[in-house]
């Protein structure tokens, strides 16, 4: 198809061809502000400017593709990758710290249990010691008390036997005095003695 390139050509004869089939008339109106708009078919189907559209589409879209491929994609992809990496790193770090904290808690509990059992041991030992000491003290005091008791008993025995020994002399004196009073005569010492002894054994 041939195209006339006159800028702002108004193509006055084109107005009676509403459906120009193969674009045999150049239908560009250039400056179509006024009412002189030439309807030479439906503009999107007007093939006379297909070549220009294709060329400019190829230039602009080609350029756009290159910009996207060389600049935008690495940049945006890089930003997103960076963020993903950062988040993954942070999560990993958090996991590591948590594991550390868990380990610390475990150690703490272990040590706590150890300390508790140790404390129990110490308390047991102290209790046992105290018990043993108390038992020893009690036996010692009991032994002492027993010794004192035994000493007291022997003294009481001594005093008793001494007292018994003096009973004979007192009885003879008393008997002599009683005989004197009753019969006025003196009884001999031997008789009285014998009588007291007889009374003692007889009693």
């Amino acid at each position: 198809m041939f195209v006339t390139s006159a800028y702002a050509q108004t193509a006055p004869a084109a107005s009676e061809t509403p459906a120009a089939p193969a674009g045999e008339v150049h239908t560009e109106t250039g400056v179509a502000h006024g009412g002189e708009h030439e309807s030479a078919g439906f503009p999107p189907f007007d093939s006379s400017h297909f070549a220009s559209q294709l060329l400019w589409l190829a230039i602009t879209f080609g350029l756009f593709y290159l910009v996207i491929q060389k600049v935008i994609m690495p940049r945006v992809g890089g930003i997103i990758e960076d963020r993903k990496g950062r988040i993954a790193g942070d999560l990993e770090e958090a996991g590591r710290l948590k594991a550390e904290a868990d380990a610390a808690v475990e150690t703490y509990e272990k040590e706590l249990a150890q300390a508790r059992s140790k404390a129990n041991g110490i308390a047991d030992a102290a209790r046992n010691d105290a018990k043993a000491k108390a038992a020893a003290d009690r036996t010692a005091i009991e032994a002492e008390l027993a010794a004192k008791l035994a000493a007291a008993e022997t003294r009481i025995g001594e005093i008793k036997s001494k007292a018994f020994a003096e009973v004979g002399a007192i009885a003879e004196d008393t008997a002599t005095a009683i005989v004197d009073q009753l019969i006025g005569g003196k009884a001999t010492g031997d008789d009285i003695k014998a009588a007291v002894a007889a009374a003692k054994t007889g009693a």
């Binding site: 195209v3 390139s5 400056v31 502000h33 708009h37 070549a51 559209q53 350029l63 996207i68 997103i80």
Partner: protein
């Protein structure tokens, strides 16, 4: 003039260029292609220039679109498909930005030109064919022979598969083109009702509210369509690339 809903798709020359008798003029379409690329690339470039670990709003949007397309491609074409990521991401961002720029009043919509969408879809399907044959050789033709089909039905199934493959660039391009075109025409028509009814006096102004509400609602819908069509184009691109990567089933 303002009520002609087709006028917005008119292409006008800015700098006439002619090489070998073919018109390669820098037109308003070319201008908006340049604007689309500048806005998309500029946004992606400057929003990520801080490279912050904790992204700001703009950087979040850039990263979200990046990961959105990356996930789409990974799900659609597997991890081998990631080598096509620059292409799919460029396509998605280019179409999305072109559609959104087209939403401004008086701006030209690059994707409302069938030749542009057709060129993009031919790029995708052409890449699928070239890569498929380069990678798999004649095994790429297994794409047209689904496994587990009884022998008697096989010629029919193969025929259908071939036709559907050939229809791909057409459906891919026409879907985007027609959506943008129809949306902009509808918007323009309803907006035109508002002005023409408003010119009729008090009663006209009262009734002009209805098309005005419609225009507002349609504008919202068109923003959705602008995103959705870019998404659909990218998703289908991923699916077609999957055929090139795994011609013998998934």
């Amino acid at each position: 003039m303002a009520n002609d809903p087709i006028h917005q798709f008119q292409i006008s020359k800015i700098v006439p260029i002619e090489i070998g008798g073919v018109d390669f003029s820098f037109t308003n379409a070319s201008l908006f292609m340049v604007a689309t690329v500048a806005v998309a690339a500029g946004f992606l470039y400057f929003s990520t220039s801080q490279r912050s670990l904790i992204p700001g709003r703009a950087q979040s949007v850039a990263e979200m679109s990046y990961e959105f397309v990356a996930n789409m491609l990974r799900e659609g074409a597997g991890s081998h498909g990631m080598k096509f990521f620059p292409l799919v991401f460029s396509l998605f961002m280019f179409i999305l930005t072109a559609n959104l720029i087209g939403m401004f009043p008086y701006f030209f919509t690059v994707t409302s030109q069938i030749i542009v969408t057709f060129a993009l879809s031919i790029l995708v399907v052409g890449l699928v064919v070239v890569y498929g044959f380069a990678k798999h050789g004649l095994r790429f033709l297994k794409l047209f022979v689904p496994s587990g089909v009884p022998g008697a039905l096989l010629p029919l199934v193969v025929l259908i598969e071939v036709i559907s493959f050939i229809a791909r660039p057409i459906s891919l391009s026409v879907r985007l083109f027609a959506n943008m075109l129809a949306g902009h025409i509808t918007l323009k028509v309803f907006a035109g009702f508002v002005t023409s009814l408003g010119a009729l006096g008090a009663l006209g102004i009262g009734t002009a509210i209805l098309p005005l509400i419609m225009t507002v609602a349609l504008t919202g819908l068109e923003f959705l369509v602008a995103f959705l069509q870019a998404y659909v184009f990218a998703v289908l691109t991923c699916m077609y690339l999957n055929d090139a990567l795994h011609p013998d089933g998934h």
